[in-house]
Symmetry: none
Subunit: 352 residues, 2 copies
């Protein structure tokens, strides 16, 4: 079942039975190199996670390393969930957004959109993003994007993305402290908070919104905001993610405030996992309620209670939680009649 | 299994594995307000049945009343069957046809086609339908309708629709007495027949076909006939219903006779439930054999023998029988590999 966080169920019910394009936003920020700030990948090779995730979702193989990305505790990437959904109820199309990757995925045929965006630096010093350029590229991409599918599911893979998202939301003036999720069960608040504090210390009183984003944000957040504004409600778009996607919406909200603009959002939604929705260390609903526009928001009622696999059970204990569009992809499976058991079995089959 | 009533099984076999649009024709006739004439809904609120049925099929919720429509004996609406099928093997699209509703369904996103058609009056006095207008709107709708789906399944929700159908068939000169079904196990023949007799008494010898339809028919019958003629075999259409849909075909037949026209019907079919097919108080096969054109007709071999739920068992005893496209929707599930047990379980889950 897909359950409501905000809004009615009509949006998701309308999409029942319909096919989607899956779009995966991939980005590296050197923030992820700060020791112990994220567990979204292999220590020392965290930067490979988006590359490996996209390879696995598209081809079922990891090519730029021997194995799938997993945490030091052995929690496998949510890309497994996305891939399982794609096998059971295929997306009609997968497109990758290269929003500044250290290493491009080793994949043929699949469309990889390149925008000339570079990996960003650490927000602890200054992310040094050409935010106007990234934003403008995204707006144009949204304006020109066409697909025959009824809707787009947009996921992301950005290691340390919750840290950059928290910094971004705070820098934009939102009461976001303690509302952001983490790939850890026990959110490493000291390192994370220290990094965010360092980031915020770089903001000057007269920085405009794009200067703020340049310093403390990441490419995915800025691009997603621009993409939403570029699409301008012309197409149904599911932001498949947790608090990072909520932050992209906060960025949209701030840009609209700054520019005095408005946006129609009837075709926009956010769908996350049950692990994010029920997370006691974050509050996605509160983040979404800070928006000045309405947003349909849902979570997929899926968990690993029935699995035999200890690595997957860790999800239910609060590790990993979301990423690579897992929550939105689970919804895609559910509204196309795929049973929970079939999804669990398929994911398990990757780990044998 | 989907079993033959008339014709070969090639038509339904060709559709195996293909996706359909579900279209639901919704209409009110004040005939339904005659005491005890129908049990398709809540006494005093029978007029809400099509509204509630469409809300439940689309969203899983009834919004214009506290509960789903059910008969005074507690037989739940066949909308449960349609919704269960949609959850297990989603239609790629659901579209509603507002053919004169007292209350519009409270649903966002889903396409509700409005034609400016008003609820019709009671046939006991004069239904007073602008039949040429309804017919013409339907022909144009059929001529202009486009979909990427391989076929359309057209269901209906029209309380007291079997009474108006019987009156229509008789008024058009068909030997239809005792061949029409009912939502009752024990067809309330006295009230029903009395109403039909009153309706027929209003027909004058020199009434043309549209004058006859204006007086004794309902909007769904006239619209469906026009839609079939407008589509003109350009698209596969399943009439998902019982004797009411058979009557719509009789209307097509009479219009063609009157106008001296012909129609190719290779893409047209009717699919109903086992409950209608096996009903001893009606004879859908005989009605279809009165047509001057060939028609593929089937029924879905589905019943509630395995359910534990007493309210559902009443279907097997002859209550309710058909509606909201139940028979055609069951066929849609069956030809897409959905098991009977899964359908029964899903329907039961709504009643817990």
């Amino acid at each position: 079942m897909v359950k409501n966080i905000l809004g009615k169920n009509d949006y998701i019910e309308f999409l029942r039975g319909k096919k989607a394009t899956f779009m995966l936003a991939l980005s590296n920020t050197q923030t992820a190199n700060i020791k112990d700030i994220t567990q979204a990948g292999i220590p020392g090779k965290i930067y490979l996670t988006p590359t490996l995730d996209s390879e696995f979702v598209c081809t079922g193989e990891v090519r730029s390393l021997e194995d799938i990305a997993q945490t030091p505790k052995g929690v496998p990437t949510p890309a497994l969930i996305t891939r399982a959904v794609h096998l059971l109820n295929p997306f009609s199309n997968i497109e990758l957004l290269n929003l500044g990757l250290e290493l491009k995925p080793n994949i043929d045929y699949f469309k990889i959109h390149d925008f000339g965006i570079k990996p960003s630096k650490s927000i602890a010093t200054n992310a040094n993003i050409d935010s106007q350029f990234v934003f403008q590229a995204a707006v144009e991409f949204g304006q020109n994007y066409t697909t025959n599918d009824e809707y787009i599911i947009l996921g992301e893979s950005v290691p340390s993305g919750t840290t950059t998202a928290l910094a971004t939301a705070l820098a934009l003036g939102y009461d976001a402290q303690d509302k952001f999720s983490s790939s850890f069960k026990n959110n490493p608040k000291d390192i994370k908070q220290q990094t965010v504090n360092q980031a915020l210390a770089n903001i000057k009183d007269d920085d405009d919104i794009f200067e703020i984003l340049s310093k403390v944000s990441d490419n995915m957040l800025i691009f997603t905001a621009g993409f939403i504004l570029g699409l301008n409600n012309s197409k149904k778009l599911i932001l498949a993610g947790g608090t990072q996607m909520a932050c992209a919406l906060l960025v949209v909200n701030s840009i609209l405030k700054t520019m005095g603009g408005e946006i129609e959002t009837s075709n926009l939604s956010l769908i996350t996992t049950k692990w994010v929705y029920e997370d006691k260390n974050s509050d996605i609903k509160a983040l979404l309620e800070m928006l000045d526009f309405n947003i349909n928001a849902y979570y997929s009622d899926f968990d690993f209670t029935t699995t035999y696999h200890p690595a997957l059970k860790l999800y239910d204990e609060g590790e990993a939680k979301e990423g690579v569009g897992a929550g939105g992809c689970l919804a895609y499976a559910i509204i196309n009649g795929i049973k929970k058991e079939a999804i669990v079995n398929k994911i398990e089959s990757f780990l044998i």
